[in-house]
């Protein structure tokens, strides 16, 4: 389809016909030969997995996501199907399974939405754009006076100086609040953290789903925990008293497992109300320890406005946030541009010849994810075991 063009002798610029034709008519042109078009997600350079013809987008490692699913389904399944819920429904009120059911479906819905949607990935620069940026960088060398080093740009936002860094992998200057996720190998807008529990990065487009997921999950776990306690203590009859040390220990452990999720919700509520990301909070970007005049330029100043902006603000659609329609077809430009990286999805893009080695981002998001994952997993594991023990005691199995 793409052959050499004749150079116009006179060098004049000619009118371009802008009327669009249908694809069928375009095919009729004998000079055009189109090979089988590839979808954009098939040539996506990052380390993501796609399902359902590009509609579902997740990180490479999804094992922990299946664990999350299993834990939630197991805990809820035990509560709803075994004698707890039917017992309470008949003895207290049938509203209990109703509310529990609604909460459960909301939790699952938010989990799927957070896991499967595009977090706001920034598409990599085309070769021409990268070359243009390189030219711009080369033309302003860092002189002796106070000038930012060539691979950074400084921008004044709301009176606060923000540094925009150059991403060697994506070959772009990252917008403010964007960060490069080393696990997914993408730059993500308003990057919060990479959550292994959800199996995806948490960024601009799925932060609200993530927040609603942990919030509703904390309500669900509290709900289950409270009613299991009620069932065992108030209706359990003999054999279960809070004065026995084993029981106390179990209640305490279960409480802590619930606490970790509730604690996480509380932490994110704080982040939302101050309009910060986890990434910024860990690095202390807007903390007053860095300087007296340091403040968060993105905050609206008002807690309510910050919350509304984060949760009820406009949601950029899939093709907007990531800049490409995953279901659309990769243009030849994309094919040419991404040819080098199309070989295998797992292949990391090299920084290019002649450029300095890529700067390693501090692995905060990675480490935090691991720590959080470790604590939460042990607590949630124990909570499930404890619910089983509670049940077992009640049924005189253990």
């Amino acid at each position: 389809m793409h052959a050499a063009l004749e150079q116009q002798q006179s060098g004049q610029y000619n009118q371009i016909c802008t009327r669009s034709s249908s694809p069928a008519e375009a095919e009729a042109c004998p000079a055009q030969r189109s090979r089988k078009p590839r979808r954009k997600w098939q040539v996506f350079p990052g380390r993501n997995k796609f399902y359902c013809n590009g509609r579902i987008m997740m990180a490479r490692q999804t094992g922990v996501f299946y664990l999350t699913l299993l834990l939630i389904l197991l805990t809820s399944g035990l509560f709803f199907t075994l004698s707890d819920c039917p017992f309470l429904a008949s003895n207290l009120t049938p509203a209990i399974p109703a509310i529990g059911g609604v909460l459960f479906f909301f939790v699952m819905g938010m989990l799927f939405r957070a896991s499967f949607s595009d977090p706001g990935v920034l598409p990599r620069a085309t070769p021409e754009e990268a070359a243009d940026l390189e030219r711009q960088i080369a033309s302003c060398p860092s002189g002796p006076g106070y000038k930012p080093p060539p691979r950074t740009r400084e921008v004044l936002i709301n009176g606060q100086t923000v540094k925009l860094k150059y991403c060697f992998t994506c070959k772009i200057f990252r917008p403010p609040r964007a960060s490069h996720c080393s696990l997914c190998d993408n730059c993500v807008e308003r990057f919060d953290h990479h959550c292994p529990w959800v199996g995806n990065c948490v960024g601009r487009r799925n932060y609200r789903f993530f927040y609603l997921f942990i919030l509703s999950l904390s309500f669900l776990t509290l709900f289950i925990f409270a009613f299991v306690i009620t069932h065992c203590c108030c209706f359990g009859g003999g054999g279960l008293s809070l004065t026995r040390p084993r029981t106390v220990l179990e209640v305490v452990v279960c409480f802590f497992s619930v606490w970790s999720i509730v604690g996480l919700s509380g932490f994110h509520t704080y982040l939302i109300s101050s309009n910060q990301t986890t990434n910024e909070d860990i690095k202390g970007s807007w903390s007053t320890k860095r300087g007296k005049d340091n403040y968060n330029p993105y905050s609206y100043g008002n807690i309510l406005t910050n919350c509304c902006a984060a949760l009820c603000g406009p949601l950029p659609p899939r093709s907007a946030g990531s800049g490409w329609d995953r279901l659309g077809q990769a243009g030849s430009r994309d094919r040419l541009g991404q040819a080098g990286s199309r070989v295998r999805p797992g292949l990391r893009l090299s920084a290019g010849r002649g450029t300095p080695p890529p700067l390693r981002e501090p692995q905060f998001n990675n480490r935090l994810a691991q720590i959080m994952g470790g604590i939460t997993s042990s607590f949630v594991h124990l909570s499930v075991i404890n619910i089983i023990i509670f049940r077992g005691k009640h049924l005189d199995i253990l």
Binding site: M1, H2, A3, A4, L5, E6, Q7, Q8, Y13, N14, Q15, I16, C17, T18, R19, S20, S21, E25, A26, A28, C29, P30, A31, Q32, G109, P123, T126, E128, E129, D132, L156, I157, N158, L164, I172, F173, P175, P176, R177, E189, F209, Y298, T305, C308, L311, C312, G313, P314, L315, P316, P317, S319, A320, G321, S322, G323, W324, G331, S332, L336
Partner: protein, 161 residues
């Protein structure tokens, strides 16, 4: 032999596909107002001889205003957000978000601008959504039309003979 493999540009779609053969000018984002989508209105020097400054600035300013409208946080966006949350976001299967509606308006506007202003001057403006709202790019270069090729193109059916 070269003549047999030449192609006629009948529409913008084809132009975009062979854009690697044209020169590009990139307009970057303006982050001075935060993370809101805005493009720099600074006139690039490469376009100096191709287009009038005022026309360019007007295009970029209109685009900026459309994006500001899309991302505006106000009563309507709150209502949409709360309604969506209450229905667990299922409502978006039936309804288009306001952002999507504005994006459609923007692509219509860009198409119109290309037809009226940029194409006659041998330029092509791309929709920033294709590049993640990072840049607005202008293609310019030595492109030629069907007439110059000696191609007897039937305008109505846009087929190449």
């Amino acid at each position: 032999p070269l003549k047999n493999t030449n192609i006629c540009f009948h529409n913008l779609q084809e132009l975009r596909h062979s854009a690697s053969l044209a020169t590009k000018v990139f307009i970057q984002r303006d982050y001075s107002e935060g993370t809101v989508c805005r493009f720099q209105t600074k006139f690039p020097s490469e376009l100096d001889s191709r287009i009038e400054r005022t026309l360019f600035e007007e295009t970029v300013k209109t685009l900026n205003s459309y994006y500001a409208e899309a991302e505006m946080i106000g009563g309507q966006s709150y209502l949409e957000g709360c309604l969506a949350c209450a229905t667990a976001y299922i409502i978006f299967l039936c309804m288009e978000t306001r952002y999507e509606k504005v994006l459609k308006k923007i692509s219509g506007y860009i198409q119109e601008q290309n037809e009226k202003i940029y194409a006659p001057r041998g330029l092509l403006l791309t929709d920033p959504i294709e590049r993640g709202m990072r840049v607005v790019s202008f293609f310019h270069g030595r492109l030629f039309t069907a007439q110059n090729l000696g191609c007897k193109c039937d305008e109505k059916s846009s087929r190449c003979f």
